[in-house]
Symmetry: C2
Subunit: 536 residues, 2 copies
């Protein structure tokens, strides 16, 4: 039987652990669960960083990904970009320290947020193959290469074999070896990930060489950089008591009144006067450093009691309707599509976001199944494709809650792709792995509206197509009788049979305009697709 143990005995084992140790033990939380997903996670982390870096430096991204199989469940991944590179003195921390980076405290729309991704790859390589990551970087001032790993007990980088290289290479190139991974050509594989990345980033060019040596190029379809997202001032309605306190305590402003105007969006001195009317116990003339919790609570209550202009939309850079169209055409080449860009919205009171949605029909939309097609959902957050954890994502939930019959769309049998991109300075991911958007009511409602609006456009097309097909059949049926009818009427009346036929033909053509030609041309050709539509 076990004995009683007292607190002192139990706490002999008390220890602190580094975040690197934590994720080493719980790597599934970083997206390293399942062999296929783990490989996509590696590519995703590097490619995401390349996009953020090129955007930051205002360079049109050229990204190359190469995957080589080097053993059983063991692959080499190389990702190179033409970005600004990483200064030598930061390379260790940037790629081999978890929770270090340039993006964490900024209030700006970016793909990466947390300073976990690339260091997570280094950790994953290390614990599955024992190998360091090889990095080569050129910043224009310096060009060098080195090997990187993490001292996980301390979460500090180990940089080895650092050498200056002579090359003119600018950007960042990373080579890593990973085990417990698998390349698969599926909906959840690297190829699909890159294809979707190209779809949401038409200004990029992505080259990919798969383990069989096949090369793919997703061509740039837009030559202009997307508008650059700027750090913005937080909107008062998005603040918690704790937020306003932290801003106040680190503020350089002299008075609370000027602190409010200088720190937050849409906050004019008029607004401050309104706040003073309500938060009467707060001394707006004292230093913001002296603001305490009770006063901050007063302030927040006052903020929520008055009317505000909505957050500045310019901070959010959606892809844009015309770019989405170009990208969809480039990659899915659909028969028909409808793209909707909604106005900026706000969740949790003050965090602005924008939803873009598209419904594409035909071409390479949807997924080819054994007996026809099925619909596909293409989820994106700040242009980054989300391939996993669909069941817990706000985008899937919104789409599944739509009554698709109302739009003549059947996700189970039709070649339909539904594209949704949510852009925000703060995407509320449901996990560290950032594969799903948490199900905030405002986001779900807005996605639904966007997708339904996009679907309405396609509905007209699908219904039109059905109508055309229906009319074509009727025209055919009637036309078949015209000859017989003209002959019969001719016999009965003794009139000219050909004259009657011409007249009847005219009458029918009036009812089914253009049907005669198109019937032969278009709709005979598209037979296959029509079959698929009615396959259920």
């Amino acid at each position: 039987m076990a004995e009683q143990r007292n607190a002192d005995e139990i706490f002999k084992e008390f220890k602190e652990h580094s975040i690197a140790e934590f994720f080493k033990k719980n790597r599934q939380m970083l997206g390293y669960s399942g062999m296929v997903r783990s490989l996509v996670t590696v590519v995703h982390e590097y490619v995401t960083n390349s996009f953020d870096a090129t955007e930051e430096a205002h360079i049109l991204p050229d990204i190359e990904v190469e995957i080589t199989q080097i053993g059983d469940s063991k692959y080499k991944v190389k990702v190179s970009d033409n970005g600004p590179g990483i200064p030598k003195k930061f390379i260790g921390k940037a790629l081999a320290t978890i929770l270090a980076g340039t993006k964490f405290h900024r209030y700006v729309q970016q793909r990466g947020q947390q300073g976990i991704g690339a260091a997570g790859c280094t950790l994953f390589s290390q614990i599955t193959t024992g190998k360091p990551i090889l990095a080569q970087s050129g910043t224009g001032k310096e060009s060098y290469a080195c090997e990187l790993s993490i001292d996980t007990m301390k979460n500090i980088p180990i940089v080895k074999n650092l050498v200056d290289v002579d090359q003119k290479f600018k950007g960042l190139s990373i080579v890593g070896e990973f085990a417990d991974v698998k390349y698969e050509n599926s909906d959840h594989g690297v190829y699909e990930y890159l294809k979707r990345t190209a779809l949401s980033n038409p200004h990029s060019q992505i080259k990919f060489k798969d383990p069989e040596g096949k090369e793919y190029v997703f061509m740039r379809s837009v030559k202009e950089m997307p508008q650059k997202s700027r750090p913005i001032q937080p909107h008062p309605l998005g603040l918690s008591v704790n937020d306003i306190l932290e801003f106040a305590h680190s503020s350089q402003s002299r008075k609370i009144s000027s602190f409010l105007v200088e720190t937050f969006a849409r906050t004019t001195s008029n607004k401050v006067s309104e706040l003073k009317e309500i938060a009467k116990t707060v001394d707006f003339d004292k230093s913001p450093k002296e603001l305490n919790w009770t006063e901050a609570e007063e302030l927040i209550k006052a903020i929520r009691a008055i009317r505000w202009i909505a957050p500045d939309a310019s901070s959010i850079i959606p892809i844009g309707e015309s770019r989405i169209k170009l990208a969809l055409k480039n990659i899915l080449n659909p028969e028909f599509m409808n793209v909707v860009e909604r106005k900026p919205c706000v969740f949790r009171g003050g965090v602005p976001f924008v939803v873009e949605a598209a419904v594409a029909y035909g071409g390479n939309s949807g997924k080819k199944e054994e007996n026809g097609y099925s619909g596909t959902i293409l989820r994106f957050a700040n242009r980054v494709p989300l391939l996993f954890d669909a069941s817990s994502c706000a985008i899937s939930k919104s789409i599944n809650e739509i009554d698709w019959k109302r739009y003549n769309i059947d996700m189970e049998t039709q070649p339909v792709s539904i594209f949704v991109n949510v852009s925000s300075v703060y995407i509320p991911y449901s996990g560290v792995g950032k594969e799903a958007i948490s199900q905030e009511t405002e986001i779900i409602d807005e996605i639904k509206l966007a997708v339904m609006e996009a679907a309405r456009g396609v509905q007209r097309y699908v219904r039109g197509k059905e109508q055309v097909a229906f009319n074509a059949n009727r025209y055919k049926a009637i036309a078949r009788y015209v000859k017989q009818l003209s002959s019969d009427i001719g016999d009965l009346t003794g009139s000219d049979k050909r004259g009657i036929e011409t007249k009847l033909d005219k009458i029918i053509t009036k009812h089914f305009p253009k049907m005669k030609d198109e019937n032969e041309e278009k709709y005979e050709n598209s037979n296959e697709e029509e079959k698929d539509e009615t396959a259920d």
Copy 2:
């Protein structure tokens, strides 16, 4: 237009962040998303710690939870236990440092694993109410109280107003104030959480006072402590190359051969001889500290090539069939139940786990709906109820994949509760919030087998009950005609009508034994339930 920026400019903003800052920004990852869930998360973290502490100290747990509303979306939570307490010098780190604790590096079955939970509550209180946590503890040697908060920039504790108290109180009592939370009496609320905790911990007594002042007691139904889980040696089949290297490098053994025998389960010197046969390039006589990656890889290959005895089951302490029965009776009081405890199994090659499943029918099983009932799934991991993220959990997935019609069970209309507890030294949670078990194939298969086995037992009962109900109806129908028939036969034959009736009665009773009495007694009374069963 935005300008190009070079690497030096971009990396001016490079910073490191503490794990506390990270979770402050991403509190949804700790389970603090949604007001109802956030409150449950607080209770869950404290109660889980109380269970681990009492178990560690071998004390039958008495736990008290009290929730008081103190404002709009603002509640005070008090959780007290009769555990071993926390030594004064550890109180700060234990409750106000993220990733510190006694459990992280142990290979033993426990509820908590990561040293995040309680410090996460402190963080959550701090950022929603600005208040510290009040802790009082008595270890038998010292009794004290103090206020705790976290310096989030550094992830270090701030201990204030530490005073020795005179009381004889032994254990730990924590009071915290939390905003952005809501008490709700639903399937996902605190009451349900505690009820389920009592269900999986029949050796505990849990008192609960809800915000309306109502008091509940979940009584102890078993007076013996559960068998204590011991730290175990890892099984060779569960090791990765990296694992074996880390064990080797921190080993005190003189040779690799003795290191293997001393460190891992089921590893005899005979087994080591077998390994030597295969891993020929490894020098088993050298110090384990000198083992390199290539040799470790060799060793792992050899380990996977030979046969091993399954991992030691004694490390895993399931609840036990009889205890589950007592608890289910105590709390659900079902008409019928079937409990199954499966043999230990292994996932990822060498991590042992045990699945227990029960299907309970009638009584307070299932959920009362407006027009009848629906089935309920009670998910547990190491006896801790899982209330959220059902859609991504291995337990829900397994249960949903079962063809319930085969078991005469209809989860949509019947008063059925399905109980599943997965026990392991390492539960592969899918997120930091620990609300779902990741969908490992071996775990899913084993849960399915367990639930199907449990369902088979109940199937006989449900089918029997349906048969009985069916027979009862037939008996009633026939009995109704006996009187008329006897009378008619009497008229036709001139025989004694009462005699004929008695004889007919006997014949019927032979076909439907006991039906006559029960019909009046049991099945007339259980009309309501029968209606519910056929309500679909």
